[in-house]
């Protein structure tokens, strides 16, 4: 006669290591670097109702396929828990017998006994059912997961310009669930914008770009709050506009604003994901104040007008801001979620015609007029200052 389920569980418990919650608590609290990896094998709704702080969630149904991202080193100690210690015993048996984990234990009595002992339980903020469905493909990525998605929903990202670069950044960050998108643009949609500015539509030619963008973003994802600034960014309004944002996406088309933005963001400690485009060429870098170089470390002085074609109208391949803008959007998501290595201290050049990427090192300038000093020493009068640039541009017409 086949054994009953209860008999199987009893038999398996005899074959695996069990550990008391008190020992787990002590091992987690000890700071000697050999704390076990604690894995909660319950279902998602049980995890969301409250779990042991520091635990990782791998539901038992996904144990074999996902345990390696939670516990890549098979020789390291792993402690599993569930509600009362049965499912985690079965999971411990699987890890030991089938997956070659060397030191696996199941926490006796599960989280029920853990709570009875009065130990800490963390109740995470949860996503709604609709959000879990909408962002499902993010939740499957261990680098993002629920925590990363909540960080995105909490994030405030400011886009300077709702044009060529701002369009793809705005659309994809909205799709990714960035909770607040600020848009600074004082322009109206023009027919000639539509070759590349995919936030806008033929029907919205003549509408302010911030309104057109708000419409597109709202249609894509109602989770996103759009804050509109239909103004030109200048010395008089920059501090007020950018303060409180977590990341700024720079796609502005002129040097004076880029320097002004640099100085203001260094003062406030806000990272800037900066890109520029011309013809078939683009460049991108992340300027994270005091962690890496700033824009002035890279370009201490702007070029004269004849070498700065942004002063006038120039051609650009319509897809190019799409490529560069999406590289910017990826960097924003990395900064917000902490995933990966952002493009800090590195400048990436993209040449569409040869399909080549070149990466250059950018170093902090120990004599940088701005970021070599503490932020509180940078005065209003110094911001955005450099030799006579506007006169150059005016002369070039």
């Amino acid at each position: 006669m086949s054994p009953s389920g209860a008999e199987v569980i009893r038999s398996i418990k005899g074959q695996i290591q069990e550990v008391d919650p008190a020992d787990v608590q002590a091992a987690l609290a000890s700071d000697n670097g050999d704390a076990p990896i604690l894995v909660d094998v319950r279902e998602s709704d049980e995890w969301e109702a409250g779990h042991v702080p520091g635990a990782t969630h791998v539901a038992r149904g996904f144990l074999e396929s996902r345990i390696e991202s939670a516990a890549p080193d098979r020789s390291r100690r792993v402690v599993l828990y569930c509600a009362s210690g049965n499912r985690s015993a079965l999971a411990a048996h699987t890890l030991t017998e089938m997956l070659g984990y060397e030191d696996v234990a199941s926490m006796r009595g599960g989280i029920t006994l853990w709570k009875d002992r009065g130990y800490d339980v963390r109740t995470p903020r949860a996503l709604t059912r609709e959000q879990r469905e909408r962002y499902g493909r993010h939740l499957l990525l261990p680098e993002i997961g629920t925590e990363g998605q909540l960080a995105l929903l909490d994030a405030k990202v400011l886009l300077l310009g709702a044009g060529g670069l701002g369009s793809p950044v705005g659309l994809y960050l909205a799709a990714a669930g960035v909770g607040t998108l600020g848009l600074v643009d004082d322009d109206v949609v023009d027919l000639s914008n539509l070759q590349r500015q995919v936030l806008h539509t033929t029907g919205r030619v003549g509408t302010p770009k911030v309104d057109s963008a708000e419409q597109a973003i709202g249609d894509l994802n109602p989770d996103v709050k759009v804050v509109k600034y239909p103004v030109r960014l200048g010395a008089s309004n920059i501090m007020e506009i950018i303060e409180g944002y977590d990341v700024i996406v720079d796609g502005v088309d002129n040097f004076p604003t880029r320097y002004l933005l640099n100085d203001a963001t260094v003062r406030l400690g806000i990272p800037v994901v900066s890109a520029s485009i011309l013809g078939f060429d683009g460049q991108i870098s992340v300027f994270k104040p005091y962690d890496g170089p700033c824009y002035r470390c890279l370009y201490p002085v702007p070029p004269p007008a004849e070498l700065a074609p942004s002063c006038g109208a120039n051609g650009v391949l319509g897809v190019l801001p799409g490529v560069m803008g999406l590289l910017q959007a990826v960097e924003v998501i990395k900064l917000v979620t902490g995933a990966g290595d952002p493009l800090v201290g590195r400048l990436l050049l993209y040449e569409a015609l040869s399909t080549s990427f070149t990466e250059l090192k950018v170093r902090r300038d120990p004599e940088c007029p701005i970021c070599s000093r503490p932020p509180e020493d940078i005065s209003d009068d110094e911001m955005g200052v450099f030799p006579d640039y506007e006169a150059f541009c005016a002369a070039a017409g």
Partner: protein, 91 residues
């Protein structure tokens, strides 16, 4: 032959090429060679004092030549020199 990558703003001065081959033992020799061959680049690369203009960054492979030996930095046969003025286009 080393390769010099030409940025978009300088391409009209070198007949539209995106990169040019150049000979020389140092960064300075390569750039002066470029300026001799394409005189329109002279004033864009060098100031009246003969130094590189401050708004032009030059990289040997991936490193800024200013943190190496500047114009005296030695250049090998298979090296790439990247000339990079600031760009600000966004629209």
């Amino acid at each position: 032959m080393a390769t010099i990558k030409i940025p978009p703003v300088l391409r009209p001065s070198v007949g539209g090429e995106r990169e040019v081959a150049a000979t020389g033992a140092s960064v300075g020799e390569l750039l002066h060679g470029l300026a001799e061959q394409h005189p329109a680049t002279q004033s864009q690369l060098f100031g009246a004092d003969g130094n590189l203009n401050r708004y032009v960054n030059v990289y040997l492979n991936d490193e800024d030549v200013r943190v190496l030996d500047g114009l005296d930095t030695p250049v090998g046969e298979s090296d790439t020199l990247v000339i990079l003025p600031a760009m600000a286009g966004g629209a």
